[in-house]
Amino acid sequence: MAPVPSTSSQSLYDPRRHVRVDAERARDVSSTDFPGYWPNEDHSWNLAKFQEGLQVKVTRLSKRSIEFDLVGVDASIANAFRRILIAEVPSICIEHVYVWNNTSVMVDEVFAHRLGLVPLNVDPSLMSSREDDNDQPTDRNTLVFHLQVTCERNKNAPKTATDPAEVYINSEVLSSHLKWVPQGEQEIVFADNPPAPTNPNIVLMKLRPGQEVDMEMHAVKSVGKDHAKFCPVATASYRLLPLIVLNPKKPVPPHLAEKFRKCFSPGVIEVDPITKAVSINEEQMRKETMSREVLRHPEFEGCVELKRVRDYFLFHIESEGAYTPERLLPESIKVMREKIATIRKAAEALRSDSGGSGDVEMRDS
């Protein structure tokens, strides 16, 4: 099928950018933009060319999530950012729990685990990480929280009351019960935004009269690959832009136009009310779920091709914790560049070791 010329985004229909989606198979999955793949074409790295082809466009933003398009990069790059967002962008979580008293029904270690999972609103750039477990806690790398909750009967509760929230005082331990205890210079550093859980209403456990918890917690900075509680995102994912290509040589028969429309997600296909001609709404095309329903019907064979654009990534990132969603991608880029700098430094050292004379120091073998 010949590529269909488009009015809005010509290059989107370049077949080299397409991953074909057949009924039972995906085709042309690998990228081919490498030197030597296409004869007499230059595919070597060219920053100016990359800058020209790169397109980053934020499409939706809320207080908790962001959606943006990242166009013109290889999957390995997009995937690197996704992986860094999940595993290597740091955040602050409770790591050590010192239990003074716990007469509740929940054992210490289970409760400590639950405390660790509570997202905190602390900007990680204001703190440093501990080098290792034996590192001295300081006001730069540790936040201290206290939790002291005792449950008692509510003497003023009506006789008929049965709801534990009415009958007892402190029947539930909530995340809002965590009290931050400033250390050293922290009072000044965190003056604008005192450390606390992002959500004050998380039920940590339930208490009954006579039961008490009293503990101290130390929160530290670390990354998601250390423990999932440090992961700053709820989800960070991308998908490739769906592309529906109609075949001008075989238009959809007018009496089947409605059936054709229903094979796709709502809004993706438009049917002209008079001529019953089928067209694609390019704005809505990204909503297509790629169910491949249209490929099940023999009457539509050859009318349409389903594809995805290989270098067109639709990112969706949900923030959980301290970072505002729009800050997450820049943070992941920062982590990536730090990694590159570290490797670069080590590679430079390797080169000066070898001195270019071939006398390379090797691993003991």
């Binding site: 790295w45 934020v58 820049p330």
Partner: protein
């Protein structure tokens, strides 16, 4: 290997004397850098072959194999690719920041 930075990378035995073919072991890295770096090295027309692997999931390092044409140094190719990758990151960062400031996008209220 007296230099502390040298611990990050080492060359595995069996490399060519002029480093035109070598396998690098990079500590503390995974697919994240491995695949991105492999892609950038393969963008170099002087590279005959480049591949990476994570030899074992419980060992925290990757292997990166680079083979060059014309007896060029694979270490130079690695360094060039690192520079290019940094340029790429900066370009994306700038483009994103610009889009966030300039573009019109839907701002919506999400219940949490």
């Amino acid at each position: 290997m007296a230099d502390a930075a040298a611990k990050k990378i080492e060359i595995l035995p069996g490399q060519e004397a002029d480093l035109s073919a070598a396998t690098y072991r990079i500590y503390g890295e995974s697919h994240t850098i491995g695949n991105a770096l492999r892609w950038m090295i393969m963008k170099n027309p002087k590279v005959e072959f480049c591949g990476y692997s994570v030899p074992h999931p419980s060992e925290n390092h990757i292997h990166l194999r680079i083979q060059m044409y014309d007896n060029l140094s694979s270490l130079d190719a690695l360094l060039a690719a690192l520079d290019n990758l940094d340029d790429l990151c900066k370009t994306i960062d700038d483009a994103y920041t610009l889009s966030l400031r300039r573009d019109k996008y839907e701002v919506w209220e999400e219940k949490s």
